[in-house]
């Protein structure tokens, strides 16, 4: 027999609510309040998992976040969660858990052969072998290594649960609701501060349940509930099941609340977890301490457990972790644990302590309970593979560290171990303070605070309860002072303690027991790193604590070395003849305990990854069969695909309509910026390469802006609406960047300019009406206004009304046809659009999408983002003439640099396929027959107007090569197309079609 449920007790347990669950398919029972670990232990389960490398059988070793062994696959299907700590899993009815990292079964695991081969698998063995003849050997071997590693199995199924996120603000965040945290939160609340108290457990109280005391005459549970009520009544917010995992700059902390993990699945609309970003003026770190195991031969046998875990399982869950228990500790906590357990009805065989003597009061108390005390002795080995069967107790010389004679070899099924306590300095350390060594604790405590925090209780190295309570109170007051509440926090007092056992927690500096009998001595349980591995690392020169970690993987497992790091440091220090602080710790990093990735993503996933930006015509497009495509956040119609049509048919039809009759396209996505003020003209003059100061009111002009390095940034038009007012359009992609660019110059570079810029992208819906019939259609649609050549010449602007809505019309052309851009109020967009279409019906108006738009612009050799790709100059794209010589502008000087005037620069050319074969975008140009790349193809189309496959491309010395025959090579598909180099403007080069 091994663990079992005690007839009574268990502060967390509700014995009236039994819960059924299954482990590895086997039906079992626990009670409400249990963790999966306590329920397994109560059911007599010893073996619960397999270790990472050697697939060693393992049992439960802890009772909280420190758990390194009892990892399970929880739930199934899409909710399967590998590597879940059984000690942090609250039991719920119907829970399904499975052991992991074993095949075919937990008790018979083929991979345990690794354990037999373990002499080969020393630290870093893989760096020395598997090289064979090179890559092939490694690839072959790697597959097996990968399969053997990895612990639990994940699923490819999408996570079905919701995760929420929130921001919270408080004066004081208290992390940890143990005695120190509770006192701190009480004090801060009493001072009138806004307090958040977070603890990762379902129940507050920390280790207070295990102290065996009464506070102000109350049992721990009652006192804790009182404290919580008081904090809540004072306006404090209590967050149970909430791990504060990260401490970021400016006192911003990240926490994850496990809202529904204690249920089978979340209720409708309930998130599984909630991420909290907590902004605190001051933080109290009351995160407690974690008990250290001792390093001795066979110390990983299932049944070997931390002493505090053995005690916690009894006090909280009424579980005796064994029928016959031995305690092995280097501090008084061992004896005390034994006494408390005995009083709870657990059968304790012996206490083994390396010290020559212990506190006499404790010794007497042990004697009174018939518990054998072996001082000057250690546990040197264990027996039993899948379950602890017994131990070897040997004499020990505390001065030399040598083993002495055999003392006894008792049988036992549980061994509780304590090597002292390791304060949880993680958050303090994340916040930027290096932990400092405390010789009395033989461990590290938080260093000087860099952010606004105070550490209190076991986290700061205070181990006794009275000290923790006092430190918590003091920390609460410090926090109150830091928040400017100096007077208000007097009326909280410390509870009177009764029933406490004597004894000091300070450990005798024993970390490991010399090896006996060849069994491994584990330092890092989860990653199977042994004391020998530490020695090997030292021998091979991996002596820095960070090298030790990386070479042996010590501390890199899912538990991040919570129970192993300090022991490893001590062992390395001894091997190198240094002190522990000289060796130092590895760097602490977030998260404190592993947190669900979904919780950090929140609802910003799936469709909510990014908002959808829509024009007012969106629904119309969709209703008319448009295939929509993303353009940044926007959705735009690609083509309106009619019945029986392909995308290609559709865009050819649309583009042909524009060339022959008239088309209409939604251009609402273009960036629009209102540029206003007495210096607006001067401002644009400085930003654009061309001149704008003298642009007449009522006229628009095409313009290009450069970046400061002289490369093209964006193009668009500026419409002068009044002497001090322009409407500037930008490309869809760069709308935000251009606005920020303008704001930068106005606020930082030329603050003297009186110009105000505002995005009016969402102010105006825009539609371009293009084609030989455009004027006719527009005039027919206009209720008011005149677009005759006289009233609205090329680049002219007029106002009018369509469908009752005021419109602004500029005669601009991207397609090369007679064309107008019509802007109206955003909400009026649909009415104006439909009116235009109605008016155009007699002329066969056709809405067109991005594909047709692209075809039309390629035929004209107009540039877009594919050509303005952040590497090209005005001259490259043939717009050198737009570079004003009369005035400087942003980027102008930088275009004088050698690379800008290099004659080898690729420049924009047109290409025509010679044999009717389509050219592919992304092709490279080579000489016929191949060779090096001379340039690349940016855009291609079948041109309905030319009846040819054409393309735009950048070609080195391209302007001298018009008429030359080259190849457009697409080696990705083994294709090459013979092309003739041409002028990039294929269609209507003199622009006569727009000037009608």
């Amino acid at each position: 027999m091994s663990g079992y449920r005690l007839p009574q007790g268990g502060s967390h347990l509700d014995r009236s609510r039994p819960l059924a669950f299954r482990f590895d398919g086997e039906p079992m029972q626990g009670f409400a309040g249990d963790t999966l670990a306590s329920a397994l232990l109560a059911s007599g389960r010893v073996l619960v998992g397999r270790s990472f490398k050697y697939h060693r059988p393992r049992g439960v070793m802890g009772a909280g976040p420190e758990e390194a062994n009892a990892l399970v696959e929880l739930r199934d299907g899409a909710r399967q969660e590998p590597n879940t700590r059984a000690t942090m899993t609250e039991l719920y009815g119907g829970l399904e858990a499975a052991s992991q990292n074993r095949w075919p079964s937990l008790s018979f695991d083929m991979m345990a052969v690794n354990d037999l081969l373990s002499p080969l698998f020393s630290a870093g063995f893989y760096y020395k072998t598997f090289m064979g003849t090179g890559q092939a050997t490694w690839h072959f071997c790697e597959r097996f290594i990968r399969k053997a590693a990895g612990l639990g199995r994940a699923t490819h199924l999408a996570d079905p649960d919701r995760y929420e996120k929130t921001n919270a603000f408080c004066d004081v965040l208290v992390v940890g609701a143990g005695p120190a945290g509770l006192m701190a939160a009480r004090a801060a609340t009493a001072a009138g501060l806004r307090v958040i108290l977070a603890d990762e457990n379902a129940r507050a109280g920390g280790r207070l349940f295990e102290d065996g005391v009464h506070l102000d005459g109350l049992a721990p549970a009652e006192w804790i509930d009182g404290a919580l009520r008081e904090i809540e009544a004072g306006g404090g917010r209590i967050l149970p099941r909430t791990s504060v995992y990260g401490y970021f700059d400016g006192n911003v902390l990240g926490a994850v609340e496990r809202v529904a993990d204690h249920k089978r699945k979340p209720a409708p609309f309930e998130p599984r977890q909630r991420h909290w970003t907590i902004h605190a003026r001051h933080v109290v770190l009351a995160t407690g301490a974690i008990e250290r195991p001792l390093v001795f031969s066979g110390n990983d046998a299932p049944g070997v457990m931390l002493a505090s875990a053995g005690l916690a399982h009894a006090t909280r869950y009424g579980v005796a972790v064994g029928a016959s228990v031995v305690v092995f500790a280097n501090n008084d906590g061992g004896a005390r644990t034994a006494i408390q357990l005995a009083d709870l009805g657990v059968s304790i065989k012996a206490v083994v302590d390396p010290r020559r003597e212990i506190d006499p009061a404790l010794a007497a108390a042990l004697g009174a309970r018939g518990i054998r005390l072996e001082t000057g002795a250690v546990v040197a080995a264990t027996r039993g593979r899948k379950a602890l069967a017994g131990i070897d107790i040997r004499g020990f010389d505390p001065i030399s560290g040598a083993l002495g004679a055999n003392v006894m070899q008792p049988g036992c099924d549980a061994l509780l171990v304590s090597g002292g306590w390791t304060p949880s300095v993680h958050l303090a350390s994340q916040a930027g303070s290096a932990p400092v060594f405390d010789a009395a604790l033989q461990s590290f405590v938080p260093g000087a605070a860099r952010e606004a925090w105070t550490a209190a209780g076991a986290c700061a190295g205070t181990l006794d309860l009275a000290g923790c309570l006092a430190a918590g109170l003091e920390a609460g007051r410090t926090a109150a002072n830091a928040c400017g509440k100096t007077a208000e926090n007097r009326d909280i007092s410390l509870p009177a303690l009764s029933g406490q056992l004597a004894g000091a927690e300070l450990p005798f500096p024993l970390f490991d027991v010399p090896a006996t009998g060849g069994a491994k001595r584990f330092v890092d349980f989860q990653h199977d790193v042994t004391a020998d591995d530490v020695d090997l690392a030292n021998r091979e020169g991996f002596r820095s604590v960070e090298h030790l970690k990386r070479y042996t993987t010590l501390g890199m497992a899912a538990d991040q070395g919570k129970t192993s790091n300090v022991n490893a440091i001590a062992l390395m220090a001894r091997a190198r003849g240094l002190t522990a602080p000289q060796v130092g710790t590895t760097r602490f990093r977030m998260p404190w305990t592993a947190v669900t990735i979904g919780a950090l993503a929140g609802r910003e996933t799936g469709h909510h990854f990014a908002p959808v930006r829509r024009t007012p015509l969106h629904d119309w497009h969709v209703a008319k069969g448009a295939e929509m495509m993303t353009a940044g956040l926007w959705m735009r119609p690609r083509a309106y695909i009619g019945p029986g049509e392909t995308l290609r048919d559709a865009y050819i039809r649309e583009a042909t309509a524009v060339r022959q009759r008239v088309g209409i396209v939604d251009v609402s996505t273009l960036g629009k910026i209102d540029v206003q003020g007495p210096d607006a003209g001067e401002f644009l003059n400085r930003l654009y390469t061309g001149g704008f100061a003298k642009l007449p009111v009522g006229k628009a002009r095409y313009g290009v802006m450069l970046r400061e390095d002289g490369i093209m940034f964006d193009d668009g038009t500026a419409w002068r609406l009044a002497p001090n007012r322009f409407l500037v359009t930008t490309t869809t992609a760069n709308a935000g960047a251009v606005l920020a660019h303008m704001e930068h110059y106005l606020e930082v570079v030329w603050p003297e300019l009186r110009v105000h810029v505002t995005s009016v992208t969402d102010r105006f819906a825009g539609m371009a009406v293009a084609g030989p019939q455009a004027r006719k259609v527009l005039q027919a649609a206009l209720g008011e206004g005149d677009v005759s050549t006289e009233a609205c010449p090329h680049m002219g602007i007029v106002r009018g009304r369509i469908a009752g809505a005021p419109v602004m019309i500029a005669r601009l052309s991207f397609s090369g046809e007679l064309a107008y851009e019509v802007y109206c109020d955003w909400p009026a967009g649909l009415a104006v659009w439909e009116t235009l279409i109605e008016a155009g019906k007699p002329n066969g108006i056709m809405p067109y999408g991005m594909e047709a738009l692209g075809t039309l612009r390629i035929e004209k050799g107009h540039i877009t983002g594919a050509e303005m790709d952040g590497r090209t100059t005005l001259a490259d794209v043939g717009l050198g003439g737009m570079a004003s010589r009369k005035k400087p502008y942003v980027g102008s000087t930088m275009t004088q640099r050698p690379a800008f005037v290099d004659p080898e620069r690729p420049v924009l050319v047109g290409l025509v396929s010679r044999d009717g074969q389509a050219i592919r975008a992304g092709s490279h140009l080579t000489l016929p027959g191949g060779g090096a790349s001379l340039g690349h193809v940016t855009a291609v189309t079948w041109s309905p107007a030319l009846g040819a496959n054409i393309a735009l491309a950048f070609l080195s010395r391209g302007r001298d090569r018009h008429g030359e025959v080259l190849e457009a090579a697409f080696p990705l598909k083994d294709e090459r197309v013979a092309v003739t180099v041409a002028d990039p403007c294929f269609y209507d080069p003199d622009g006569s079609r727009m000037h009608v």
């Binding site: 929420e164 929130t166 921001n167 919270a168 603000f169 806004r194 609309f269 970003t277 910003e604 909510h608 908002p611 959808v612 930006r613 829509r614 024009t615 007012p616 969106h618 969709v622 295939e627 929509m628 495509m629 956040l633 926007w634 959705m635 735009r636 392909t646 995308l647 290609r648 865009y651 609402s668 209102d674 206003q676 003020g677 007495p678 110009v755 105000h756 505002t758 995005s759 009016v760 992208t761 969402d762 102010r763 991207f814 955003w826 909400p827 009026a828 991005m850 594909e851 692209g854 075809t855 612009r857 390629i858 877009t864 592919r920 975008a921 193809v937 855009a939 291609v940 079948w942 393309a951």
Partner: protein, 213 residues
Amino acid sequence: MSDVSNEQPRTEPQTTVARPVVGRLVPGEAAGAEPPALTLRELSTGALLEVGAWPNHLEKVTKTLSDLAGTTLPGRPGRFTESPSALVCWIAFGRFIYLGAAAEDTARVDGALEAEDAAVVDLAGARRIVRIEGEAASEVLNKAVAIDFDPAAFPAGALAQSVIHQIPAVILRRSETVFDVLAPSSLADALIDWMTDAALEFGYRVGEPGAVL
């Protein structure tokens, strides 16, 4: 414009590209937890314009705006004040958003301010306004916005420009439990989509559309 005109008829099967997520408020509809703790509704305004004052003309501009709105301006950015006919938001140094009950307010404000003092940009139709109302309203907003909505820090009359789900928004606290959110029109559906989803755990119902003033 489109960089994609180069598409050849594809050899691979064509995908249907993302349909948008629709976010529309249909009055009377309810969703999420029962009973609904929140009400969402869309608000309209007669005029909506932005005023940008030149640095040393601020006093004159604030005075003009106060007179036009019939209320005293709040005194610093981050606050708004209202009268029955207008609501004036001081959104940044030298910048205001003027919400007028009447559409004609646009012309009135424009006419009252000289080009030498300030720029006036008509933003009518460029923003939509969503009201979220209920005890949990600030909790919904705090899912996205890292602003302390404690009434002491952010009382009624306070405003914030911030970002909700990548959407630039102006948040006005009209009362302890009522917030009005201005969002660019092209993203207003997306805001509603986000907000209704965020409100599910509290439950919401959609109220009749109303007016800001």
